[in-house]
């Protein structure tokens, strides 16, 4: 008999709320740990989710993080109501950043976010409309989880 072990959930993100920035990714990490997923896979997922969450907090008014975990993969969608990305190719370039100084002073905004999400995941799709918002969808495969 087939058992459906899949699980999904959603977290809401608030722009400019630096006190709580990271709590969604932290909660997602806890879900993955509870499921006993391999540590290196958890780390890649947490890093990608946190980079995306920081982007929403830095650049957008609000957003949400949705996840779905099956026996074979973790998929995460981060959607925001923000300014959008005019040129995704440029935003994917390491070192390219439009972050203001106060963000850089916190150790972020050095133009490594999207490239690092790409590096940490098995697939990444970015859709963005300037003035409306951005949606990131990434997938991480769960392989050899024994």
């Amino acid at each position: 008999m087939l058992v459906d072990n899949s699980e999904d959930g959603i977290f809401f993100l608030t722009g400019k709320d630096f006190t709580n920035a990271g709590t969604a990714s932290s909660s997602l990490k806890a879900v993955l740990e509870r499921r006993g997923i391999r540590q290196d896979i958890i780390r890649r997922t947490a890093i990608a989710a946190f980079e995306a969450e920081m982007n929403v907090v830095i650049y957008a008014v609000a957003g949400m993080m949705k996840y779905r975990i099956t026996d074979t993969e973790i998929s995460v969608t981060i959607q925001d109501m923000g300014q959008g990305i005019p040129n995704i190719e440029l935003a994917m370039t390491e070192g390219y950043s439009t972050a203001p100084d106060h963000i850089r002073a916190m150790g972020f905004g050095s133009g490594m976010g999207l490239p690092n999400i790409k590096k940490s995941t098995d697939s990444l799709v970015v859709n963005s409309v300037v003035g409306e918002g951005t949606t990131l969808e990434f997938v991480i495969q769960i392989k050899d989880s024994q």
């Binding site: 630096f18 920035a21 990271g22 947490a46 920081m54 150790g107 490239p115 790409k118 590096k119 990444l124």
Partner: protein
């Protein structure tokens, strides 16, 4: 190298409450850019930094960093210390500079094992798969 050894080498103060001898690290990553920590550090290491905001703890949590040393006597706010305690990440403060902190630990045998710089080939478009 365990927490007590690191504390002694750096003449540091442990500022979290549950820090124990069981905490030990095999490698070091040193940065003030959290983006770099997220991109290049490896799991189970020590982070040396001059930044003290809450995002440092969040970064350590996501990147599976096991211990943090703040340099030049910089102390994070109580809220940040509480977050580290909640995440079971011991925090140390040393009066040494970044250079001397790294130098002393290097002298005692600790090394960096940062992930190799990898440049993914990037093909992007505004609507669709990257």
């Amino acid at each position: 190298m365990n927490l007590v050894e690191i504390k002694d080498i750096l003449e540091a103060t442990v500022i979290t409450s549950q820090a124990s001898l069981r905490h030990s690290v095999a490698s070091v990553y040193c940065a003030d850019l959290m983006s770099d920590v997220l991109s290049f550090s490896i799991a189970k290491g020590l982070l040396i930094t001059g930044l003290t905001n809450a995002q440092v703890i969040r970064t350590a949590e996501m990147a599976a960093i096991d211990m943090i040393v703040f340099i030049q006597g910089k102390r994070p706010a109580l809220q940040t210390i509480s977050l580290a305690e909640e995440k079971n990440i011991p925090l140390l403060v040393t009066d040494l500079s970044m250079f001397d902190t790294c130098g002393r630990l290097y002298e005692k045998g600790l090394r960096s094992q940062s992930a190799a710089v990898r440049r993914p080939s990037i093909v992007a478009c505004n609507e669709g798969s990257i």
